[in-house]
């Protein structure tokens, strides 16, 4: 069966979540393009969007229209060619509206898992919990044809484990999109030893169609992305513990977050990133990795405490940031959570000035991540930034250099442990999936 054939009927399980909904947009978009081809005129296309929550599905309807419109707006140059024979469609607005109508006509919103039964491809993007995933795969195996192929969006559970538990005989591959899937170019692809060749090829071809950057990862819990991110986060938390005697808890979190964002030129500080992913998700991934890697060091009492106090981050349906380590006002950090007071310490200029003075200034000529992102001489600017950082003797520069070394060591360990086939793959995941300006395995320090 070709990919075109498989794309006639697709199911997305966990479709109303942030990952599932994005996958749904991309699949509906591909179906709409296939529908436009003359040879497919009489074929019926269906994207089955399955979720347990009726309320969430209701919200998904609006989201799909909004996202499909955005996709169409960004690809109008291409869409004009697809609709060139439709003389009635002249302006961009006509073409965008028609494409969105076509794409949304393939959508089937349902809470009934039976909708997977005719699907040739099933994307699973439910909660990151091995027991829940195993249960649903067992059910789907019974419902689906023996030809159905499964792609899981797990970011940490070994594919071979899920395959074995559900008895899928190699019809499962890890296809880990990054958040938000429509925007992020990276997909980590994880094949288990027994993943069938046809599914591996589907993964490759689909990636090309969706214009994604596919980076292979070995089937070891956490893969490359979380293998790095989780350990990076744990190091940040250990730094907080070390710095708390100087800065106390809110101050130490502020310092480490600022070092990782401004001094290391990342798009956001490490605690803002954990909040973005979800503190509860972070904890969940830690648990999965701890279990599958049998590594008790993959735990954070601090994170456990936050989740227990229902400080979990993540995003609201409109994409705005929920409070976690940090409190957000207009999506910008405005406060820091204090576990003992169970409340947020609100940042103010006077306090920030005092703490900033202790860590010292940024290197001369500092340009933030956003400015460097569009700087055509980014490489030179990065080299200059880190050269200056090395020569400085401030608390901030020392913390940053240590962090950079640790980050590099984590990346190298992933290669040594066989999680990543090369340093190039580690760097590709961090630059494409996390929007870093540079890979962790570098020669800046």
């Amino acid at each position: 069966m070709t990919l075109d054939d498989r794309l006639q009927n697709v199911a997305i399980v966990g479709a109303a979540g942030k990952m599932g909904s994005g996958i749904g947009v991309m699949i509906a978009q591909e179906m709409a393009k296939l529908k436009l081809k003359a040879e497919n005129k009489n074929k019926v296309y269906r994207t089955n969007l399955i979720d347990i929550s009726e309320t969430a599905l209701d919200g998904l309807r609006g989201y799909m229209i909004t996202q499909l419109t955005k996709v169409a707006e960004k690809s109008t140059v291409h869409l004009r060619k697809l609709y060139e024979k439709r003389q009635d469609l002249i302006e961009n607005a006509d073409i965008i509206r028609t494409f969105v109508d076509n794409a949304s006509s393939v959508l089937n919103f349902t809470t009934d898992l039976n909708a997977v039964k005719d699907a040739h491809l099933v994307f699973e993007a439910i909660v990151e919990n091995d027991k829940v995933k195993t249960k649903i795969y067992r059910k789907m195996k019974k419902l689906c044809s023996p030809d159905t192929m499964f792609l899981t969006n797990t970011s940490s559970i070994p594919i071979s484990y899920l395959d074995e538990q559900a008895g899928l005989d190699g019809r499962l591959i890890g296809y880990h999109f990054y958040n938000p899937p429509v925007v992020q170019r990276l997909v980590e692809v994880i094949a288990a030893d027994n993943t069938v060749e046809e599914l591996r090829k589907i993964g490759d071809e689909l990636g090309k169609r969706l214009r994604k950057k596919l980076v292979p990862s070995c089937d070891i819990s956490g893969f490359i992305g979380n293998g790095h991110f989780i350990r990076d986060g744990l190091y940040a938390l250990s730094e907080v513990e070390r710095l708390k005697s100087t800065f106390r808890y809110p101050g130490a979190i502020y310092v480490v977050n600022r070092i990782t964002q401004d001094f290391l030129l990342r798009p956001m500080g490490i605690f803002q990133l954990i909040d973005y992913v979800g503190v509860d998700v972070f904890q969940c991934i830690l648990r999965v990795m701890r279990t599958h890697l049998d590594d008790t060091s993959l735990r954070s009492r601090f994170v456990d405490k936050l989740v227990k106090q229902h400080v979990i981050g993540g995003q609201y349906a409109d994409g705005s940031q929920k409070d976690g380590f940090l409190k957000y006002e207009r999506n910008r950090p405005a406060g820091i959570y204090n576990c003992s007071k169970k409340d947020y310490f609100m940042l103010n200029d006077k306090w920030k000035k005092k703490v900033d003075a202790k860590i010292g200034s940024l290197p001369d000529g500092f340009a933030p991540w956003k400015a460097l992102l569009i700087n055509p001489k980014k490489e030179d600017a990065l080299q200059s930034h880190f050269d200056k950082l090395k020569k400085m003797d401030t608390l901030g520069s020392r913390l940053a250099v240590d962090f950079l070394k640790k980050t590099k060591a984590i990346g190298e360990q992933l290669v040594n442990d066989g999680v990543a086939a090369s340093t190039k793959n580690v760097n590709a995941v961090l630059t494409n999936g996390f929007y870093w300006l540079y890979g962790p395995i570098n020669n800046y320090i």
Binding site: T76, V77, L79, R80, E91, N92, I96, A371, P376
Partner: protein, 414 residues
Amino acid sequence: MSFFRKKIYACAGFNTISLGSGRKEFHPKKPRPGIEYYIKEAGLGSINQIQNPEAIDEGVIGNFVAERFCKQGNLSGFFPMVHPTFQYKPCIRVEGACDSGGLAIVVSIKTILADLADVVLCIGVEVQNSVKAIYGADYLAAAGWFSGERKEGHAYFFPDQFSQRAGACFEKFGKEKVLAGMAQWYVNAIENARKYPPAQEFHNKNPELFATGMTPPNPKVFCENINVFDCSKVSDGGSAMIFASEEGLKKIGVDQKDATEVMAYAQVQDNLTTPPPDLTKLSTCAIAAKRAYERAAIKPGNLSVLEVHDCFTIAGLLAIEAAGFADYGEGADFVKDGRTKLTGTIPTNTTGGLIGYGHPTGATGVREAVDVVSQLLGKAGDCQVKIGADRPYGMMSSMGGNDITVVAMIFRQT
């Protein structure tokens, strides 16, 4: 012999901020002022520079496409809002695509020449940030031939028209040379805009402008031969200028030394339903400039300052040739050599032009006139260039569509 049957003066020019991406205060999702705000702001900016606003006889408003961007027509109805004494005075809205402002200043002058008014307040305005660029491209495509060109046209219709011109120039004059000229045009535009607080690129701090200008085009999402930095801005803004007869200047209480004389203009119209005769030339702009020079009895060498319609960097290069400063195919070298910089042979687009200041389409022709007049009056602030005693002239050339509707106008120090 003078081209006009009586002397016409221009004074009290004013440009609002050109609001859009690049300005710190701009946020696409936050509410912004509407078109009436810019009409009033620009109009008041002008009349605050004269003693007797009640002596203004008429208004002319240049605007391209408010019906689509703002769902607003009947723009002349906003004229009385500018000043209480304008109630029941005449006002006409003028449209000529991106040359709406150019046509507005022509109409202002014609009204005075016809002895129907002594003083005309000319306002150009456009608000474009009301929709995303992909829909704005539809609206602006109205400057082309809708029934004859739009269906086959590109999603970004006008950028593609000039991308085709760039492609033709690459082929004829060498890609490397033309690309370098285009990138240098971008550099000059941003550098000049950084000296002019109302400019849209005033806050631009990019240290690598040339490299940015050389960003390779991405035809999958935009055009074949140009990048987004080659394009003028999507802008909200307004500009205003007062035109007056000698008698009119007295009525509004403006001394002749605070005004410049309009020496001549040429308004040239090409046929919208025929393709450009040569993609490597702005033929209509060249005719307009030639006629304007002849009518003012001067040569390009008499100009101290020039404003051209750089809706795209390639248009800037071709406009320099059309204005008679560089030979055919030499515009890129002329610009690359720095001869259009503020300190160059012919300082051009001194506040950044359509790429640096911005391009509120209906306002642009008026804005160009305002900037030439400011220079000749020595009131251009940090953008001021040297006005040689032997070169007391400045020229603006504004263009609507793909070299279809053009106004070239020459001003002289009094």
